[in-house]
Symmetry: C2
Subunit: 471 residues, 2 copies
């Protein structure tokens, strides 16, 4: 048993309604000072351990959602605790540097022993942001500057950019995919295409979207149809790029569309995308905010593609416990300094934590574990799907990033809620999918608990459906 | 002597060239993994105390720039250290919550005892971001949603917003001022108007700028001229708002333009701006990222204006040690939840630190100190300016936010560099200004050290100028 799961309870235990009376009261209190209408569970983090989250009413949940795919190595992980109480952490917390001007003396070392240790080959440069959205927007800025790479500018450019006008502020675009999610800043939201509530009323850049391939699952069963669908999508991308009202400087894509429905595509598709960007002198940006840091069974989701050369930029965040980063080819460093800059340029505290996360992953071989447990869970889910296909539509997964569809949004939400009532937390993705996003310390025994709860819920739902049918 | 300055050295001490050999080597090492061309000083934060920053070569500086106006209560402040080692901090660091869904049980309390304790009257709601830029962009989104406040949308709006097209993605603008700085995200950069290097090559929204009043200093000597200039600016604002190609949903302004030249305006001007926004149903956003948290001698810069009603939104960040926040009228909470949302919704670690910062400020009456020391420093600088007016052009200040102009960018940079060689760090603002941005624990004795160093530099520069004149 790894130290990360040492203090775990034997299983979930639900003592009250969810939310319980204390949770409901805490939510009401919070709602006075901020918008707490979205709150699901008010948590007692100090009592939570490993894969188990405890709420303020004393209920214990198996957490297979991990704070929206973010907790990497379990709650109250001892190695992370050691990092959090280290002198370098305390000092970085109370003496936060404006890193671009006044960095810590050990900053290069923290990065080298942390995120850079797991950098994809050919991407030795790192840029640190404060969130996944911020990492994507930094990547977009780097791509625009790279696309127009010049050291000097004309008077007209100098004047016009101060007025937000072309040619200084150029008409340049980023292409993204329908149902892709890349964040909620103004530029990242312009590339996000998941929900009306995200985008409505917010001014957006006139940037193009292509339809992401709509594949049939299981993938191995529909190889030929899926190949055609991916070729269709690649052709659409080319057509858009060659006819858009302005040059498209970059293309951004998730290895798995992880918010907009858990949509997969094949390595061939992604290799095709990279080829398209190369031929057109565009940047190929891979958004690994949700797929990065091991969940797919490899450290980076794009490692599954066997690309002939690295992506230009890879953005990431969640499982490194926020902050945000991108790796890039050194070519994406602007020729003139101070152009990609801000006061903080990241947060050394989070870089120190990332170092401990890398150490914990390596010490316990957690990427391998994610691959194994993901495979185990998928196998068992396939069995469940055979018995109750209507409850497991389009079952799909890579590593522990697993999802399936229900017949409607209402039905999906009912299952998620019923699971929660049995002490198991999973998330939703797109309109009708349930998404499983466990931590990297999720073992077969945890998978079994999730599976049992699912079986119970399906049985109970079956009764509900039958009861409804009798009416 | 307050505990925050307890371990301070007696004064600056410079032992090597700046940067010294270790600093230069550390910068070269850092430049391999990220863009370190902007680095000024590589720091030994663990050896830094109170107002004194120590570098990796053992040089000790009096820091009157404070990590770009950000360190609030001194390096290695004991109360902040206690907060950084508290159980709530450790837990928040290693169990970072997706706050919108799964908040900490004590989150309301942390905010109430921290940032909300110092909220301006009439602004009981807080939104937490990850940086000043992010706080401004959150505020802009809130303003756009508020401006179009509706609960339901048409089919056309639903479809068009997913394509980044009007009417769903509306043509709406934010007005900002020339030489204003509001951050470097895509929307915040569209309102930033300071430097070509910030804006060049980055797509921008077609949003308007008005010219900030160009006042003459000292303000009390040019009251009538300045009043006319401010009226001119207010008229320009009205003209732009009434003729812009699209509705302008909000106006954003800094109490002192703190990056674009330290430009001041009178309370009358700001009251005039608020009146303009009220008449037009726009949001009045005050960007206090640099002026907030006491530096002006009041907790918030806008408290100097005696507004008849609170601003709609006040954004802030730096002196609360990053993260970012805005306070707002409850009216700015969207009618539909999940519209202003992201995975983290801030960072409880920084909210816990903010609580300690508020406690330290209150326990030591540090706002009062900033007012007093600012007044003392301004008085002494006026004396220096009388003796050497060409070295202290347009001396201006409020609290400890103080600046003056040199004759050229080159001359300004020479003085900043000469001060640094004497162990005193100040910053630059706009093209020709030196900006002083000490911490709130900056006392008269520290001001005296800054003043002595300035006198020495001016004398030495005088010799240089005389020498040059003789050629």
């Amino acid at each position: 048993m790894a130290s990360s799961t040492l203090n775990e309870p034997a299983g979930p235990s639900i003592k009250t309604e969810v939310p319980g009376p204390r949770g409901a009261a805490a939510q009401r209190k919070l709602d006075v000072v901020l918008d707490a209408r979205t709150v699901n569970i008010v948590c007692d983090y100090e009592s939570s351990h490993g894969n188990y989250l405890v709420d303020v009413d004393g209920n214990t949940y198996l957490d297979a959602y991990s704070q929206i795919a973010s907790i990497p190595v379990g709650y109250n992980n001892p190695r992370l605790r050691a990092a959090a109480t280290s002198e370098e952490m305390i000092s970085s917390m109370i003496n936060r540097p404006a890193t671009g001007f006044f960095p810590r003396q050990d900053y290069a070392q923290i990065l080298e022993q942390g995120v850079l240790k797991v950098a994809p080959p050919g991407m030795p440069h790192v840029w640190m942001a404060t969130s996944g959205s911020d990492a994507n927007e930094g990547a977009y800025k780097a791509a625009f500057i790279w696309y127009r790479r010049r050291k000097t500018w004309t008077d007209e450019e100098n004047k016009s950019c101060m007025l937000n006008q072309s040619p200084g502020s150029p008409n340049l675009a980023i292409l993204s995919f329908g149902s892709g999610f890349h964040g909620r800043g103004f530029a990242s939201l312009s590339t996000t295409r998941t929900k009306v509530t995200h985008k409505m009323d917010i001014p957006a850049f006139n940037w193009p979207q292509a339809q992401f391939p709509k594949l049939k699952y299981p993938l191995e069963q529909f190889k030929e149809e899926n190949r055609k669908e991916e070729l269709r999508s690649l052709e659409e991308v080319k057509k858009i790029l060659d006819s858009w009202h302005c040059p498209v400087a970059a293309l951004v894509v998730e290895p798995i569309q992880s918010e907009g429905g858990d949509n997969h595509a094949s390595p061939d598709f992604f290799r095709g995308l990279q080829e398209i960007t190369k031929k057109r002198g565009m940047a190929f940006i891979v958004d690994e905010v949700q797929t990065g840091v091991g969940a797919t069974g490899k450290f980076w989701g794009h490692e599954h593609w066997a690309l002939s050369s690295p992506p230009d930029i890879v953005t990431f965040s969640k499982k490194f416990q926020a902050a945000g980063y991108y790796f890039s080819d050194p070519e994406f460093r602007p020729e003139v300094p101070l152009r990609l800059f801000n006061t903080w340029l990241g947060d050394p505290c989070r870089a120190i934590l990332a170092k401990a996360i890398v150490e914990e992953i390596e010490a316990n071989n957690l990427i391998k574990l994610a691959e194994e447990v993901g495979g185990y869970l998928m196998g068992k889910l396939r069995d469940l799907a055979k018995a109750a296909p209507e409850s497991f539509g389009n079952l799909r997964g890579q590593g522990t990033i697993i999802a399936w569809d229900l017949s409607s949004t209402e039905q999906r939400n009912k299952v998620v809620s019923a699971l929660r009532g049995r002490g198991v937390i999973v998330g939703t993705s797109g309109d009708v999918a349930i998404r499983v996003r466990p931590m990297l310390v999720f073992e077969k025994k945890h998978a079994d608990i999730l599976l049992s709860a699912l079986e119970e819920v399906i049985k109970a739902e079956g009764k509900v459906s039958n009861a409804a049918a009798r009416l």
